[in-house]
Amino acid sequence: MSPASSRRRTWPLSLAAREGHATARTGRWTSAIVVIATTWLIAAPAIADALGVTRLMEAEQDWIDAGGHVYVVTGATVDGDQLPIPTSVCESLASYDGVEASFALERSGATGALASVPGGRASVYSATSGSLPFLGVDGDPRGIAILSTGFSERTGVLDDETIEVIRQATDSTPSARTGLVSSRVADTAPMGDEFDGALLVPSLLGDTADVCYVATDAARHQAVGDILPGALAYDGRSAVAADRLYSNEFTVDYATAYEDRPLRWLWIASALALGLMWALVQWFRRSHTAIYATFGVRTPARLTMQFSEWALLALAGAAAGWALGITGALALGARTNPALTIVSAHTALTLVGATLIVITVALKPTGTLLNALKDR
């Protein structure tokens, strides 16, 4: 041994990193608490948020199923009479961006029944073929008739049965039969409650029809609504586009509700809690930091040491938090898609936020070494 060294020596950063890892591995309760806290502070808010978003999506789906994002367009009212809308324009709207389906309908429903089902009387409406995608029905428009769920329940006629619709004569139209067609049961709620129990026969309507139904996507609902009066104008008079569902200030705007959900900011609280906990750990350990300082650990090495300890513990906690968050959210009924993205986002944001605090805490100067070494 030759105690001759007097030159200023600092720890290589690789040594500091190794020392930080050793501290993490031997840290017992401290390390366990940091890992467990990281796990839960990531998983719990992420699960809550994923469930909240799932609930929002389900509510939005229910709303769409009930006719949200649907316009009912009729002609202007002139001298007490309602003008019609142009059938072909209505039917062609479906090819526009933002329009998911559209069809024209003749409102004056005749009464009708099925040839094979005695007593199954119902209103029968004629609608253009766009009613198939609108109601989620497939098949050849010429070979089917659409039964509302109410009608199906009343008569016991199910999907894909061979039926024939007989339309009774009215003052203006003679009695008519569809010939043999295949039944399609569909939920007509998006069109309106008054259609429950009715029959819909895809037909070629004349040049004009009474009403045009337009289903839009959520993002472009407003934009589509703005062009409908002009697009469906008749005789130079703008049409009237009304939301199928009455909306008022209490109606949930799902895009805004998603943006504004408070749970999405919970990672800030988690990051603060983790950062605070880390600051506390460092405060309890200030004597350890002072020991290293008197043995040549200067700021860059100290930062490296604390950061590598934090990184090891936080990454372990974050991995566990991510896994727990996803399994927890799925087990509690969250949908896979928001669960994956939301839990991952919470994990990443909490980790980054807490790490920034950890670095800030590490940069904070400590008091005199003697004080740090004495009070322990």
Partner: protein
């Protein structure tokens, strides 16, 4: 390294009186010096100022090498505190290795030094025990081994043998002081036997040097 202290005065920011006044002394290269004095006379404060554990307010403390060049004690001195100052969850060897790392030792070299110096303070075979399960006296010996493992030319020790029995104290002291000229050692002590063993004795009273004896160098 020769140690020179010039006109050191110190008042704790929170304190009301001067703890050290105009303290001046020299310790020759390779000598061992005992600082004695009643409790509260400023011994720990003086040692802490020398070890840069407290910021100096006035005066100067320097280490001077054989060529006359001056060095800061922050880089040339290791200390052994009155209170136990080990990393409790790390092994005895890991604690000693921290001293060796401050000297730029490799991992293998640091391990070897830990084994060597732990043996010198009577802790052979205890390398892998976590510091938290060591007794007070054992922990203090680990701190002494750590200071020696740093290979710094100066050791500053505050009551290093306070918790040791006479026999252990004597052997640890021998290890620390080492062969003459090997390192400069400053020891704060209450123990007359320790002071006896040192090359010179500085007596502190109310923050002043009142006695300076036995310069056997």
């Amino acid at each position: 390294m020769r140690l020179t202290a010039r006109e050191i005065s110190f008042t704790y920011p929170s304190g009301d009186h001067e703890v050290l006044s105009q303290v001046t002394f020299d310790i020759p290269d390779g000598a061992s010096a005992a600082i004695i004095g009643p409790s509260g006379s400023g011994k720990t404060t003086l040692l802490s100022l020398m070890g840069h554990l407290l910021p100096l307010q006035s005066g100067s403390i320097q280490a001077v090498d054989a060529e006359g060049a001056e060095h800061s004690l922050a880089d040339t001195a290791s200390w052994v505190l009155q209170t136990v100052s080990l990393l409790p969850d790390r092994s005895a060897a890991d604690n000693v290795m921290i001293g060796a790392y401050s000297d730029g030792a490799s991992r293998a070299d640091a391990r070897a030094r830990a084994r060597d110096y732990l043996a010198q303070v009577g802790l052979a075979g205890r390398e892998d025990e976590p510091a938290r399960i060591l007794s007070g006296g054992e922990a203090q010996r680990v701190a002494i081994a750590r200071a020696m493992a740093s290979h710094r030319p100066i050791i500053l020790a505050d009551e290093p043998t306070g918790q040791l029995d006479a026999t252990t104290s004597a052997s640890v002291l021998e290890a620390m002081i080492g062969a003459h000229g090997q390192r400069t050692v400053v020891i704060v002590t209450h123990d007359p036997a320790v002071a006896q063993r040192c090359d010179l004795v500085l007596e502190l009273r109310d923050g002043r040097i009142v006695g300076h004896s036995g310069a056997r160098v």
